[in-house]
């Protein structure tokens, strides 16, 4: 990968080409993201690629503390956004960059996009969020698993029997009713993801379908990264030529001035 960052790079970062590849899978809870990450990891490993997976709230530094703070519902919006930024920076410096330097594929189950969307949904400005996460590496590929809110709701009920406090955005006080709040909050997030799609070069994947159908699409998008010609590659190459490849995406930094 290029080793390029969206904005100001971190002090002490290599800033040069890295041997590995960074693949990001984004999507709401219930979009089938985690299932797909597992399948993609398996598929890549079978083909002989070393895969390191990463996600939100997995840093050694602060992940436990964030969990604790969320239990008490005590985090105000700016604090929460910054706490997640610590978690992300710690993983970037101590896990993602070393793994990429060593030539591994880093598979990220969510990345800065979810963090930015959440911060903006809670009142932060887009510019603030973009600048804050300017130190993030530009991934080789960002895939967004796109599922309708009613499907997300259905899957949440199937899985947990209820809606999660944070995924419903209850801290925003959009509505005292959790179902209403869920739809209002997901709509806000969707607005942010829709806005980000172009500048950040998202590949949208229809996640209203079965995991198998999603996986097939994902494989088609990922394969060319490793110079492979999978089933249906011809169709894919045409799609990439239409401007889907992240390397052709202008750095958002330039857009923000």
């Amino acid at each position: 990968m290029t080793g390029r960052t969206y904005g100001t790079p971190l002090p002490g970062m290599p800033g040069e080409k890295l041997a590995g590849k960074l693949i990001v899978i984004e999507g709401a809870d219930g979009s089938g993201r985690t299932t797909e990450v597992d399948q993609l990891k398996e598929w890549l490993e079978v083909q002989g690629h070393a895969v390191v997976d990463t996600g939100l709230r997995r840093s050694t530094l602060v992940s436990e503390r964030i969990d604790e703070a969320k239990q008490g519902h005590t985090l105000a919006p700016t604090t929460m956004a910054l706490f997640y930024a610590v978690d992300f920076a710690d993983q970037l410096e101590n896990k993602i960059v070393p793994a990429l330097s060593a030539g591994s594929t880093v598979l990220a189950d969510r990345y800065i996009y979810t963090l930015m969307a959440r911060a903006v949904a809670r009142g932060a400005s887009r510019e603030w969020a973009r600048e804050l996460y300017g130190f993030a590496l530009v991934p080789d590929l960002v895939m967004f698993l796109n599922a309708r809110p009613d499907i997300l709701l259905h899957r949440a009920i199937m899985k947990y029997g209820a809606l999660d406090y944070w995924e419903s955005g209850m801290d925003l006080c959009l509505s005292p009713d959790r179902f209403d709040s869920f739809f209002l909050y997901q709509a806000r997030l969707r607005e942010e993801f829709t806005w980000m799609a172009k500048p950040y070069g998202f590949h949208f994947i229809d996640a209203n379908r079965t995991p198998a159908a999603v996986h097939l699409d994902v494989k088609r998008i990922v394969a060319p990264l490793y110079n492979r010609a999978p089933e249906g590659a011809g169709r894919l190459l045409r799609r990439r030529a239409n401007g889907g490849a992240p390397t052709e995406t202008p750095a958002p930094r330039a857009a923000s001035g």
């Binding site: 904005g7 100001t8 971190l10 002090p11 002490g12 050694t60 530094l61 602060v62 503390r65 703070a69 005590t74 985090l75 105000a76 919006p77 700016t78 604090t79 956004a81 910054l82 706490f83 930024a85 610590v86 920076a89 710690d90 410096e93 510019e127 603030w128 600048e131 804050l132 300017g134 130190f135």
Partner: protein
């Protein structure tokens, strides 16, 4: 009747007073004395220090102890800590019309992070949620003086205070002087860009305190005291 108060730039009814300067510049002593003075004159006062939130205190301590922190995570953790205190401790009294005294404010982050190599514009953006204070006192003092005060009080110089994480020098005292020198340069720079009131902190406690009180008088001239509020009921 509550007297008319000129509304400050931040738009909140309270007043935000900030005390900045190197360790050993005397700013904490002066901040406390100002707090006492204001309370004695019936102002509602709220006092807050840097790095005191329960949320991140453990993480910062553990991170420092085990050497887990990089300049970026160091910076972001302190920003998280500040945001937590700002949203829960500083903003409410400011909105309720208190005089909020901050022993260190965002400028401490600006100078420390810059000295550790973080991009200043990036750091400034992070703290954009924090309003500009009504008054920022910068206690300017030569690094040598702060070192002498440290030695005189027999306080040990801490690892991070000396900037040992930067590898400037293996000798604590030497590293301290270099690191604090960097901080001072950053402070001196901010004093111009952010309109600090520069206080010559090399003088006696009393003479500095008198100057501060004089400086604050115009700011508090028409500011309501507790008495005003009670009589208004």
């Amino acid at each position: 009747m509550i007297p008319e108060t000129p509304s400050p730039a931040h738009g909140y009814p309270g007043r935000l007073l900030v005390f900045e300067g190197l360790d050993g510049s005397g700013k904490s002593t002066q901040a406390r004395l100002i707090g006492k003075w204001l309370q004695s004159r019936d102002y509602r006062v709220f006092f807050t220090e840097w790095n005191s939130s329960d949320l991140t205190a453990d993480t910062i301590r553990r991170g420092k102890k085990r050497g887990l922190l990089t300049p970026t995570t160091f910076s972001l953790l302190h920003a998280t800590d500040f945001a937590d205190r700002f949203e829960r401790q500083i903003l409410p009294p400011l909105r309720a019309g208190y005089v909020v005294i901050c022993d260190r404010y965002v400028y401490t982050a600006f100078v420390r992070d810059a000295a550790r190599g973080c991009a200043p514009a990036w750091v400034r953006n992070i703290y954009r949620f924090a309003p500009k204070p009504d008054k920022t006192f910068y206690f300017q003092v030569p690094v040598q003086v702060t070192l002498a005060r440290k030695h005189a009080s027999r306080l040990k110089i801490s690892y991070y205070e000396a900037g040992m994480d930067l590898g400037l020098s293996d000798d604590v005292s030497d590293s301290y002087q270099r690191f604090q020198g960097r901080l001072k340069r950053e402070y001196d720079h901010l004093a111009r860009t952010d309109q600090f009131t520069v206080i010559d902190a090399g003088r006696s406690v009393e003479s500095v305190q008198n100057e501060l009180r004089k400086e604050l008088k115009p700011l508090l001239a028409k500011f309501p005291t507790v008495e005003h509020l009670i009589h208004d009921r």
